[in-house]
């Protein structure tokens, strides 16, 4: 009844050409852990599937000479977990990516897919936002970069232009005394979807916070960068007042809905709780614990 074409190009140029030519009838396939579920549910019926896993740049983890990491958008969570250094530098980003789905799903699911699915509850996104990740995008008009928080445009919508493909995430070099963490509230212990998710990235020098970024998920139409929360922490020794100010900033940033997964009151309250808990973990890691 419905014919679906499948392409697995070897280069990004081919992928972009095919994707753009399909004019919206195409879907990108990375791990497929969202796409195939949506197809089965009848939510999307693509005429063309462009599998990007055969494109080298999209599946590699690179440590550029200038420092940091560049992660292909289609790298599977399990692959990232096996990388010898990534998890040591970005434990929060890694734990967030590794919370997507189950062990089996981890063999396929990618951070690029998690971001482009556009769910406000995507686990890796708040951690990437906190990390200050920058994405590289390629489309018919060439390449451009965007801060990761600029990609989500609303529930299941992104700011990518027609024909554009998310290529990679670039995470900046880390100064000494830096680390990150991600926590989510789920009613179960696993196999669940975030009711609230929060990523925190910190740099401490001599016990004082010199840099802080907070990403907050599942409390608004898109994942949020909560700049006020970061500001409240910078310059502090993570004393109760600073933490409470950052928690209040997170609560204030919430624009959640009442739905089957949580209430407005619950999500708002929990955002503040997670801020304190996540920052505590990131700080302990930054200062050499765990």
């Amino acid at each position: 009844m419905t014919d679906i074409r499948y392409l697995a190009p070897r280069t990004l140029d081919e992928a972009v050409a095919a994707f753009a030519a399909a004019q919206g009838a195409a879907r990108i396939l990375a791990g497929g852990t969202d796409l195939l579920v949506q197809m089965r549910a009848g939510v999307v019926r693509p005429g063309l599937i462009v599998d990007i896993k055969k494109i080298g740049e999209m599946t590699e983890i690179v440590e550029p000479p200038e420092g940091g990491f560049r992660i292909g958008a289609a790298v599977a969570g399990a692959t990232l977990a096996e990388h010898p250094r990534f998890g040591k530098v970005w434990p929060g980003v890694l734990e967030a990516i590794n919370l997507i789905g189950s062990k089996q799903v981890q063999g396929r699911a990618s951070p690029g897919g998690n971001l482009c699915n556009g769910s406000p509850a995507g686990d890796s996104v708040p951690a990437m936002v906190a990390a200050g990740a920058v994405v590289t995008i390629q489309g018919p008009g060439g390449r451009r970069t965007l801060p990761v928080e600029a990609v989500p445009a609303g529930p299941h919508r992104t700011s990518l232009a027609p024909g554009e493909i998310l290529v990679s995430f670039t995470l900046p070099p880390r100064p000494a005394g830096s680390s990150d963490a991600y926590l989510r509230m789920i009613p179960r212990t696993e196999m669940d979807i975030a009711v609230v998710g929060l990523g925190a990235s910190l740099t401490l020098q001599g016990g004082v916070v010199t840099a802080a970024r907070i990403g907050l998920g599942a409390v608004a139409p898109t994942v949020l960068l909560v700049e006020e929360a970061g500001k409240a922490l910078i310059g502090s020794r993570l004393d109760d007042a600073a933490l409470e100010a950052a928690a209040a900033a997170c609560r204030a940033a919430c624009r959640p809905i009442d739905d089957k997964r949580g209430t407005i009151a619950y999500r708002t309250r929990v955002a503040g709780v997670l801020l304190k808990r996540t920052v505590a973990i990131a700080a302990a890691r930054a200062q050499g614990g765990n």
């Binding site: 009613p187 089957k260 009151a265 929990v270």
Partner: protein
């Protein structure tokens, strides 16, 4: 009893009580087990159901012409093809009324819930069938709907059924059930303390992994074969026969391996529809529900709205108990009133009891049985009130229960006078357990509080009709056939029993499940009856086989059969002939079967009796994250009188499974509806059953107090363990937080709201 069962003293058992390899294990772990959806046939086509998009609507007309004209469509059925059971006359099959079942499998006058089947199509593939469903034009008159009990019983509620009257007026209360003992008002007058509380629970799905599925082939000669997954192939045959008009003799129902049922597969949805599609199309028809269809349109069990009042003397003696249980039936009558009405107070010796159940219909899918149907709802209310009485009296809740236990000779409000009650033993087992004695660190970390709770439960258990055949193969091995699907280890248990009785190695016994043509009538696998009943008929069959074997040996030896003993799998001459002849093994006798009288084998068909009730007492430790409102179960110990654990791993599995389902019920599972009456969480992501990491290892304490009315002492096991957890966990949460929750689930938003003073 007889010689054989006298030999079955526990200390002598070689196979009974052993954790033998399960007969279905290898196929299940290698993916070879054949479940209902695995069946295919040459020429097979696919059936799909068109479901109501409205929660409540009169069906003015259905036009199927466009669907029938679609290329690839082979048949369409609607309610007019299903046998109509007029509302005036009840026709019962077991506990199911065909008036409701015919309307449940296909909406007749009205669509009664979002997802109610209104038509079905068979076509060359699933996509064509789905496209054809979309071409069926149903003219609906949309009616106001009602979902929750408290809304359904209001005077101005939309009425689902004109025929239902309560106190002389049209009502959504479709029926009541009462259990009465003594004079409850006089009882309360004697009480020093009375606690009365109201409780609410949400509908819960049975959550079996395998969706309903079947293949039906209706042949040109009017005979039908059904392959499907159910808790009773004979139920499938009988109900399909009633709903299609095809006589039972013309239907062969073949049970597939079952991927979970928990009560829900004691009724059918697809088989009659598939049969009619097959009859119309002349092709075998396969139907497989999606998970979403399973969640929307099968099961669940009832939500409830209950008020329980218990009166006690200062010393803790219970003097009166009253329960009003409003139970969701779903869209058609038949909620499990018997569970809360009969079980709630049954563990206790209370002289004055009045327990009333109300069967409340609303625009939800018709409920199906779920493990001890309805009993957990009643026990939740009663056992929480008992906890509160203990608190107010300053008594240990365990001692309060111990003081009031039903004993031998106690009369229960539901009518039984108990013969042998082993409730006290379950409480003592918990009292003496290391878990109960272990100190609890109530505030292990900032933001974390812990508590311990206790509750008990009761289930009737059941006997009923079962059939078995025990055959000796030509090469001297054993094949046992019974008539019930194995949902809880009945094959493994029967293999142990048979090996024990015949004195042969367990590996020489195969246990199979017969279809409706190959074994005599056997009632459903349900009510915790199957291991009890099938062990009984298998025991009697094996005794007959041993009688035959002794006769054959006597014939060979030319001695009196009375002078032959059967021992360790061999016939031995006894009495004056002892030692005169070398023993004859099962293989020796099988080899000579033809010349000594023919094939060796025997079957027994019985309506079994003597299933004594089941009692359970549970203790649980919980931990509450007071900033997130999350309740986690840290430790759980469940004590139950199991009679005799024929296969202990399965008995433990039953207890653990029931407890885990109870944990989900207490903490996370619930049906959520939107304002249009549509289920919002029709899938495992948002219908939150616990996953492995959510629960600790459940410790099952099996008390083996033999049931004197059963040859091996078996007592039903599968249902009692889901009865106490709701209250046990609620009581533990109270112990942790000092505040009581009167509604389930105790989900994080609800807990946090309470902690914030809401």
């Amino acid at each position: 009893m007889n010689v054989i069962t006298d030999k079955l003293r526990v200390e002598d058992n070689k196979w009974i009580g052993q954790r033998t390899i399960r007969p279905d294990g290898a196929d299940k772990v290698t993916g070879r087990a054949s479940y209902a959806a695995d069946n295919t046939m040459p020429g097979m086509i696919w059936g799909k159901v068109l479901r109501s998009p409205h929660a409540h609507a009169r069906i003015r007309s259905i036009d199927t012409s466009k669907a029938e004209a679609l290329p690839g469509v082979k048949a369409v059925v609607t309610a007019k093809d299903i046998v109509d059971f007029p509302l005036e006359t009840s026709v019962m099959l077991g506990i199911q009324d065909m008036r409701w079942m015919c309307r449940n499998v296909m909406a007749r006058e009205k669509a009664l819930f979002h997802g109610h089947p209104v038509a079905a199509v068979a076509a060359i593939n699933e996509e064509v069938a789905a496209a054809a469903c979309a071409l069926i034009a149903v003219d609906y008159e949309v009616l106001p709907h009602v979902i929750e009990i408290e809304d359904a019983i209001r005077d101005d509620a939309p009425i689902l059924h004109d025929f239902a009257k309560f106190e002389g007026k049209p009502s959504n209360i479709a029926g009541t059930m009462t259990a009465k003992l003594g004079d409850v008002e006089a009882g309360f007058a004697e009480a020093d303390i009375v606690v009365e509380r109201t409780f609410r629970t949400r509908p819960i799905h049975q959550g079996y992994i395998e969706p309903q599925a079947c293949t039906v082939s209706y042949s040109a000669d009017g005979r039908a074969t059904i392959w499907s997954s159910s808790q009773g192939q004979f139920m499938v045959r009988a109900m399909t026969s009633l709903l299609t008009g095809v006589p039972q003799s013309n239907i062969r129902a073949i049970p597939a391996e079952i991927g979970g049922g928990f009560g829900a597969k004691t009724i059918i949805y697809l088989e009659p529809v598939a049969l009619l599609l097959s009859k119309k199309s002349g092709r075998p028809v396969k139907m497989v529900m999606t998970r979403e269809e399973v969640m929307r349109a099968t099961g669940p069990t009832s939500g409830s709205f209950s008020t329980v009042k218990i009166g006690a003397k200062k010393d803790g003696t219970f003097v009166a108990a009253k329960g009003d249980f409003y139970i969701q039936a779903g869209c058609l009558p038949g909620g499990p009133l018997r569970g809360p009405v009969g079980c709630s107070f049954a563990p206790y010796d209370i002289p004055n009891v009045l327990s009333v159940g109300y069967d409340v219909v609303s625009n939800r899918s018709k409920v199906a049985a779920y493990r001890a149907p309805g009993a957990p709802l009643g026990a939740y209310a009663a056992e929480c009130v008992i906890d509160e009485i203990a608190e107010q009296l300053g008594m240990d809740p365990l001692e309060l229960r111990l003081k009031n236990t039903a004993r031998s000779g106690t009369k229960a409000a539901y009518g039984a006078t108990f013969a042998k009650v082993t409730f006290e033993e379950t409480i003592e087992a918990i009292r003496d357990h290391e878990h109960y004695k272990a100190p609890l660190d109530r505030n292990p970390r900032p933001g974390v509080k812990r508590g311990r709770g206790l509750a008990s439960g009761f289930w009737y258990n059941a006997g009923g009709e079962s059939s078995a055949q025990v055959n000796i193969t030509e090469d001297g091995n054993v094949v046992v056939t019974t008539g019930h699907p194995d949902v809880g280890g009945s094959r493994a248990s029967i293999a142990n029993v048979t090996a024990e009785l015949l004195g042969v190695d367990h590996g020489r016994v195969s246990v199979l499940i017969g279809d409706t043509a190959s074994i005599g009538y056997s009632n459903l696998t349900g009510g915790s009856r199957v291991t009890f009943a099938s062990a009984m008929v298998v025991t009697q069959s094996a005794e007959k086989v041993i009688g035959q074997l002794k006769e054959r040996a006597a014939k060979i030896w030319k001695i009196d059969p009375e002078a032959v003993h059967w021992e360790n799998g061999e016939a031995r001459p006894a009495g004056p002939n002892a030692g005169q002849f070398p023993p004859l093994s099962l293989a020796d006798l099988a080899a000579k079967a033809s010349e000594t009288g023919g094939p060796i084998g025997a079957g027994v068909q019985l309506n079994t009796a003597g299933a004594e009730p089941g009692f359970a007492t549970h203790v649980v430790d919980v931990e509450v994250d007071v900033d997130l409102g999350i309740v986690r179960v840290l430790r759980y110990t469940a004590a139950q009188d199991v009679g005799r654990a024929l296969h202990p791993s399965y008995v433990e599995g039953q207890i653990q499974g029931g407890v885990v389902q109870g944990i989900g019920w207490a903490l996370s599972e619930e049906y959520l509806y939107d304002r249009q009456g549509r289920l919002e969480n029709a899938g495992f992501l948002d219908y939150r059953m616990p996953v492995c990491s959510d629960v600790p290892m459940i410790e099952a304490v099996m008390l083996e107090i033999p049931n004197p009315k059963h040859p091996q002492g078996v007592r039903g096991v599968g249902e009692a363990p889901i009865v106490p957890p709701l209250a046990a966990i609620a009581n533990a949460v109270h112990d942790a937080l000092g505040t009581r929750f009167y509604s389930l689930p105790m989900s994080p938003p609800k807990v946090l709201e309470r902690l914030d003073g809401g």
